[in-house]
Symmetry: none
Subunit: 409 residues, 2 copies
Amino acid sequence: MANFDLTRRLATEEGGKIIFLVMDGLGGLPLQADGQTELEAATTPNLDRLAREGSTGLSIPIARGIESGSGPGHLALFGYDPLFYEIGRGALEAAGIGLLLEPGEVAARGNFCTVDENGIITDRRAGRIATEKGEVACATLQEIELPGVELIVREVKEHRFALIMKGKGLNARLLDTDPGETGVPPLKARPEPEAADDPAAKHTADLVNQFLAAAREKLAGHHPANMVNLRGFAHDPALPKFKDVYKLKAACIAVYPMYKGVSRLVGMDIIETTAHDEPLDEFERAAALYDDYDFFFIHIKYTDSRGEDGNFDAKVAVIEQVDAALPALMDLSPDVLIVTGDHSTPAKLKSHSFHPVPTLIWAPATHMRDSVTGFGERACMTGALGQFPAADLMQLALAHANRLKRYGA
Amino acid sequence: MANFDLTRRLATEEGGKIIFLVMDGLGGLPLQADGQTELEAATTPNLDRLAREGSTGLSIPIARGIESGSGPGHLALFGYDPLFYEIGRGALEAAGIGLLLEPGEVAARGNFCTVDENGIITDRRAGRIATEKGEVACATLQEIELPGVELIVREVKEHRFALIMKGKGLNARLLDTDPGETGVPPLKARPEPEAADDPAAKHTADLVNQFLAAAREKLAGHHPANMVNLRGFAHDPALPKFKDVYKLKAACIAVYPMYKGVSRLVGMDIIETTAHDEPLDEFERAAALYDDYDFFFIHIKYTDSRGEDGNFDAKVAVIEQVDAALPALMDLSPDVLIVTGDHSTPAKLKSHSFHPVPTLIWAPATHMRDSVTGFGERACMTGALGQFPAADLMQLALAHANRLKRYGA
């Protein structure tokens, strides 16, 4: 699996341009035993051309049999061993809305919820309040003052917000205050069992409990968003940066905050987009900035969403929409064009799954054409890349872009 | 990846004979998108027969995407993790001409160069002086005396020589004195930044600088070889030996010093050859000594050389020459015959490359015939061995030779 000591040592400042197109949850399954997968059923003349001309294979996001979340799936695609590097949800949520943590600061993911007069949770998502209402509630929480720490409370979307605590002697090893069910009150903040005796963790739990008490008071008139739960307390994950490990100036083109968050944490520039952007909009954004970056991570969200919905045909349609827009990328004549996914999301399972992910590398100067003539799960089984850890893909991308020196004489 | 603890524990003294044929830089690429590679284009009835009867696959020298030098590429083929075991160039150069280092001794690779009256380098290779002239210049350098150390100066070829320092308190962590360009004077020897405060490194740098000053004086009348640069200061890499880890009596049949050097460092006997030897000469050498060894490493240099030249047809011709000579090995009826390369050197790229290497194992008692009918990059993609780390190949060789006991009951 990819190795930063090695890439740091061998990566060069010069070399070709890389477009790294990630269709979230790309891999699928047939609905019937002898049927086709979503990718196989889709009409994809452009992807098929890339697969026919280039090298194909199947990438394994985490390890065989392991179903990956989107966070570790993307870390792996970016070359970070996902079993070594873990991003706390709080840090990811904060990064998604542009807030990076300094060392020692603590972030948590917040959810507005509804409690009754006895403090019992009746709705864990506060009726999915509108984002504008969430912003008002966040402004109210921002008024809270705690001794010795600075607070940042920032709306994310609907009932979700991010909380950051800045101060000395903080430790993020706390358990969630979200009980995960209704009919019970929010839990108190308290250290993880392994940090039970850590003074900083106890101090931080104490501050969080003061915050929660103040929130209950301040939000009394904000029904249904009249209380909060906090989850995923985390420090900055201190991920090595793309510029450092790969010597790449990298751009992220994604429509969802989480993917922007991971990209920001690995040091990519985040390109302005909106959730309404279509694949073609994203590809045109890359084209407009093509001279400014060495590496473009382009993320397609809705392959995964339609898989999660269990809507096979809708997932096929998203894949076809991407394929139809692909000439906007191919016209750039990138040195390396990679198409892959962060994990599989078969509509049949309405969920992420552990299956390996169809992957192609198109790099005319160096790719080895294999016998594969179309892009699909079964076709990729016989491809030049074999089955390989997703975390090796960045090393292959750099190699095909002629960005790695020789190892040894 | 192969594991010496395991092979040491399981290897037996008895078992079949193994011929390990390495065609340097074997892997290639098509010149045109829909064309054939060098190996595919070559007419190779004997290699095709071995591939058809035996098991095929693709070996990955270092890691996916990593272009390997010949040193680490061979270490990997010999089962040594090339990211763990590194051979300093000085130790390799010395071993290539038969000089093995004792612990604590320091070796460097030397280049005769030309300097003008101001000591500025005008030719880093001293006009590639004839080897006989190099020998005379080495004899002159051998007269230099330094306090407390014994020196060995030995000609390698043309402008290249090896320097060995024997004495107490030496440390090889020095930077090269070769500035890598003309128009500047040679650099002074000085410790690597990480060894800047090491007294032994400072002492060694001091001795090297005394040697360089004396060399300048001694060589004044030896124009164009009137100065030297030193590179790759190194200690003995202390590699485990074939006899120890594999219980194999092993012979190296190679025409180039570097490959003899690596083989000597892993404990093989070096069989007398010359650079004029053809593949058939090398194979006949193996046949003559067949009863004396368990394992024959046979190295073919010119597949790599012609690839580096960018001469597709000449590389094809070398492969065909090897194929034509192959009956000399097959007539020995070895228990295991392996054909592979240490890395790829596509003529298209005129360079080593990161691409995996076609590999076959022919071992009639144990091989699994796959559907492959000829020896080539694309054919090997579907073979019985899959894609695997080159460092696993020795373990497979031992297994096919029935030289490994069962692991566990």
